[in-house]
């Protein structure tokens, strides 16, 4: 390689490098095109997608009533054994025994947010919430009971 060729190569390399730097320079002077979000400082304005799968929650209405019949469809649909449903037998006014939900145990630490339980639920009792900040100091806190204390099944849900 002649010395001229060598200098030409170096010059050429610097030229293409500067050409690439033009792109970098453009964004340096156009900060509005930067999309970085300042999490967690933007917690107040942070808006997650409606369908974002953060954790499973049970829907309760204003009368503290839910739509869970304790049919265990979600428990069977879950691939990880995240859900454990404990049922009890209620006595209906006409004296019959009826299966009802006692405790809806949800192990958040096992959950992969695959949405299969929500899909499987025949009454739409559970849904996915947008909360994603799940870190706690004790893993026991991740085992949750989804039905609120004193809640009962909404009338008319079979």
């Amino acid at each position: 390689m002649s010395i001229q060729q060598y200098i030409k190569n170096v010059f050429n390399a610097v030229k293409t490098l500067l050409k690439g730097m033009r792109v970098t320079g453009y964004y340096f002077f156009h900060p509005k095109e930067i999309i970085t979000q300042q999490y967690p400082d933007n917690r107040a304005t942070l808006k997650l997608a409606d369908r974002f799968k953060g954790e499973v929650v049970m829907l309760h209405d204003e009368n503290n009533e839910h739509a869970c019949t304790g049919c265990t469809a979600c428990e069977l649909a879950c691939p990880n054994g995240t859900i454990k449903i404990i049922t009890q037998f209620d006595i209906t006014p006409d004296g019959k025994k009826k299966k009802a939900l006692n405790t809806f145990v949800y192990h958040l630490e096992l959950c992969t947010m695959c949405n299969l339980c929500v899909e499987a639920c025949p009454t739409g009792a559970i849904t996915m919430a947008q909360n994603f900040e799940h870190s706690v100091y004790d893993r026991k806190q991740l085992t949750k009971i989804l039905n609120k204390p004193g809640s009962k099944i909404r009338a008319g849900v079979e």
Binding site: N9, N12, A13, K15, T16, L17, K19, G20, R22, V23, T24, Y27, I35, L48, A49, D50, R51, F52, K53, A77, C78, P79, T112, M113, C114, N115, L116, E119, M128
Partner: protein, 371 residues
């Protein structure tokens, strides 16, 4: 031990790269035999992230096992799920509604774009350029946001179910994708200006990591790695599934077989993905997004195989069914494993400094190799 050392010719020694090394993109362990700076042999040691996904799937039902496959090649999670859903549908003989097929293919191509974005950023970082990583992640973030809006997750979506997709697309989906696609073509030009045209980058890539057509075939390489060596192996073209038979796109083939060819194949594949999405996004037909299937899926006794083109190559799903609710045996043919096994051929005789660049063009995802 002493004898082994003394019998080694002078200058030949062995070094370990990984399993904890940033350039191996995961827990890959390479045992490299060197003569000075020249590579004599590369031996990949696997198993550091083996989670026995195949065995795990045997205890899960045909609806449940799909979510696990997102964890194999997590960068093309959609496409993995797609392969499994197609294989189960083949067994059930379910007709998937056209709307679902369109949505699936658009999602696949968006995933491919996102995966190639990440590869491009990481690839440039492997050869020493840090800035491209941010530009790549900027576009990837837009795709992730589209995914989040429709599928509810950014990486492991679990959106494909046997019979269609889990939920209908978000009302804003089409508009957002079109907006993204419109701006994206300029971005590819930007990438070419920033990295592809750079002489320093080209010198690192050209003529390095050569893989011949014969070797690519005999090692079972697939995807961009094989296509850069002149093997026409795009599953979307050769064995079309869903609506791929109806869309117009080119199968990108390079014949040089070096690292730069593999780089170019992926860059040009991004353009083709954009082309596929452009053709489909305006024409999503109305109708159901999911076919009616039974609550408990049972595949008839037999063997079912389905292959798809992931961002890395050909993924095969092989299900053996005994007629029950769970598969008797599942085997995944992952593209990364075969592509990695050709690394020895590529890097042999080269310098160790070029190894990381060669490995970058393989686009390795270690959980896909180990499963």
């Amino acid at each position: 031990m002493h004898q082994v050392l003394s019998s080694t010719p002078e200058g030949i020694f062995t070094i370990n790269v990984g399993p904890q090394h940033p350039a191996t993109h995961g827990v890959l362990h390479l045992v490299i035999t060197l003569n000075g700076e020249t590579i004599l042999k590369i031996e990949p040691h696997l198993g550091y992230i083996h989670r026995s996904i195949e065995k795990m799937c045997e205890s899960l039902t045909y609806r449940q096992f799909i979510y696990v496959t997102s964890r194999m090649d997590y960068l093309s999670a959609h496409i993995n799920n797609h392969a499994c859903a197609l294989c189960v549908e083949k067994g059930l003989q379910v007709e998937v509604p056209m709307r679902a097929q369109y949505i699936r293919v658009i999602m696949d191509e968006l995933t491919r774009l996102a995966s190639h974005e990440l590869w491009w950023g990481a690839m440039a970082m492997d050869v020493g350029a840090f800035t491209p990583f941010f530009y790549a992640f900027r576009e990837r973030e837009t795709i992730n946001e589209i995914m989040e809006e429709t599928c509810g997750a950014r990486l492991t979506m679990n959106y494909m179910v046997p019979g269609g997709v889990m939920a209908d697309i978000h009302p804003q989906f089409q508009q957002k994708v079109k907006q993204f696609i419109a701006g994206y073509k300029n971005k590819i030009a930007e990438y070419n200006e920033l990295v592809t045209g750079n002489v320093i980058f080209q010198n690192r890539m050209k003529g390095v990591g050569y893989l011949s057509t014969e070797d690519a075939i005999s090692y079972g390489c697939s995807g961009p790695v094989a296509r850069a060596s002149g093997v026409a192996c795009d599953v979307r073209k050769r064995y079309p599934y869903d609506v791929y038979a109806q869309v117009q796109f080119d199968e990108i083939i390079e014949t040089t077989g070096d690292s730069f060819a593999r780089y170019l194949v992926r860059i040009r594949e991004m353009e083709q993905s954009v082309r596929i999405i452009e053709q489909l996004i305006d024409n999503i037909p109305e109708g159901d997004y999911q076919a009616k299937t039974k609550a408990v899926l049972k595949l008839p006794k037999g063997e079912f195989y389905q292959r798809v083109e992931t961002a890395r190559g050909e993924l095969g799903v092989y299900i053996v069914s005994e007629g029950g609710t769970t598969p008797y045996r599942i085997k995944f043919r992952s593209p990364g494993f075969s592509n990695l096994s050709a690394l020895n051929e590529m890097a042999k005789g080269g310098k160790i400094g070029d190894l990381v660049a060669t490995m970058g063009t393989l686009d390795l995802v270690i959980p896909d190799i180990d499963r």
